[in-house]
């Protein structure tokens, strides 16, 4: 992707910044209330620490889960519409060629991958696209276990109620893993955090070009 063509843009549009933080809040509610729901009848041999649960008890956790889901829906749909309509996805999340991904992944694993403000490298593009797809699947499996009869076709798509419930739990772990990596990388490049909060023009890009 030519950096020239993007060089006059802001790093993140204000729409993206607002949607990002609403998404963080909604996702936090979904994850922590989900842990409380899990604890009511754990399907694996562990419990999430009680203090991490949101809702206080199963009924409260479900109230949070089935409330915050509307925020997540609204935010997610706005984000998808914006992403396609503005060309953000086409421009910034283009699937990398395998060679490009291999190169960037190798660099990342050797802590040599550079971060350019306003331009995503191949590893970033794959991670961001991956988490978008994971959240879409999480909403789909969530709907499937909420309405396994009325949306029986959807539950069937995921192998029926018990399997859909297992997938819902598994994708949560995937999303949490993304968040951990994502936050760690933001801590390595604090400037990126600022750019997700306030307007940062592309000009400041140079200053951030150092190996991670």
């Amino acid at each position: 992707m030519g950096q020239r063509e993007t060089s006059r843009r802001l790093t993140h549009s204000s729409a993206i910044r607002v949607m990002h933080w609403i998404g963080v809040y909604a996702m936090g509610c979904m994850i922590f209330s989900g842990w409380e729901i899990y604890n009511a009848s754990p399907s694996l041999h562990f419990l999430f620490p009680a203090w991490t649960g949101l809702g206080g008890w199963l009924g409260g956790a479900l109230a949070w889960h089935l409330s915050a889901m509307w925020l997540l829906f609204a935010d997610g749909i706005a984000y998808l519409v914006y992403g396609f309509a503005s060309g953000h996805f086409r421009r910034d999340l283009k699937p990398p060629r395998p060679a490009e991904l291999g190169q960037d992944l190798g660099a990342a694993l050797r802590f040599r991958l550079k971060h350019h403000m306003g331009h995503y490298n191949a590893v970033q593009r794959v991670l961001y696209a991956g988490v978008i797809i994971a959240v879409i699947l999480q909403v789909m499996t969530g709907l499937a276990i909420w309405k396994p009869v009325q949306l029986g076709w959807l539950a069937g798509l995921f192998g029926g109620y018990p399997i859909a419930r297992g997938i819902h739990l598994a994708i949560m772990f995937g999303i949490v893993a993304f968040v951990l990596v994502h936050v760690a990388l933001v801590m390595v490049h604090p400037r990126t955090l600022k750019s997700m909060i306030v307007t940062v023009p592309q000009r400041s890009r140079k200053a951030d070009e150092r190996p991670a």
Partner: protein
């Protein structure tokens, strides 16, 4: 309504700790403080967290909205999936708001009372219920806790029963009262769904006490807590009747 002759097998003192835990329906208690404080900021600005009523109120309002969405998604014609006998879960898990050793015996001279918006309020004896046309099902019972199991029940379709007693089928709610202190209620549309039955049998044998003897509701289009066991009265009403868990904060519609 038949009054309870048998002394309950469980005294209130025995189940008080459990009840007290559940009575605290404060949605925030024990909650992650970050989520809680962010919740108060975003869902409701300026609410007094010390009472928790603001956030609880907002969550309850959204649950009411969810109930309307659930009612709209519901179709009386859509059937829950049925399974072959080989899929039945064994051993079948007991579940109630009390432990299995506290299951109540069936009161002597048990009858099913019928109340509210019905033409014929005569109580029903067990033989009279058994004489009505029966229908069986092997369906998945899904608990609000997330676990599920496949069971086999048969009995009288609730829709046929309601027509038989001349119920006002345009009424909003059907309320179920149980002799173990439990209660629940469902919407009329779900009551008339053809798989909603007043079950007399479990696995082709008359219900044992722990499975809800002598009569229970079995409704595969709702979460498990709606399938009330040990029935003693049915009431057709337009006044919101609530229920044991519904009054403690589970969402009322609870459809699946």
């Amino acid at each position: 309504m038949s009054d309870q002759r048998n002394k309950p097998a469980v005294s209130m003192a025995e189940i008080r700790p459990e009840l007290e835990r559940l009575h605290r329906r404060g949605f925030l208690r024990g909650a992650l403080s970050l989520g809680a404080s962010l919740g108060s900021l975003t869902l409701l600005t300026g609410c007094d967290l010390s009472t928790h009523s603001g956030v609880d109120g907002a969550l309850e309002a959204i649950l009411c909205f969810d109930d309307r969405v659930q009612a709209a998604l519901f179709s009386r014609k859509r059937l829950a999936k049925t399974y072959p006998a080989s899929a039945i879960t064994r051993p079948f898990r007991f579940n109630a708001y009390y432990a299995e050793w506290q299951v109540r015996p069936v009161p002597d001279n048990w009858v099913l009372s019928v109340a509210g918006l019905v033409a014929d309020r005569r109580p029903w004896t067990l033989p009279a219920l058994m004489a009505l046309p029966q229908q069986g099902q092997i369906t998945r019972h899904i608990c609000i806790e997330g676990w599920s199991q496949i069971g086999q029940w048969s009995g009288v379709p609730l829709g046929a029963f309601l027509r038989r007693v001349g119920a006002d089928l345009s009424a909003r709610y059907v309320y179920f009262k149980c002799f173990d202190g439990y209660s629940t209620s469902i919407d009329m549309a779900s009551a008339l769904q053809p798989q909603t039955i007043l079950a007399l049998d479990f696995e082709e044998k008359p219900l044992a006490p722990q499975w809800g003897a002598p009569l229970r509701l079995r409704i595969p289009t709702k979460l498990g807590f709606k399938s009330a066991k040990n029935l003693e009265a049915i009431e057709v009403t337009n006044k919101y009747p609530g229920g044991y868990w519904e009054n403690r904060g589970y969402d009322w519609f609870a459809g699946v």
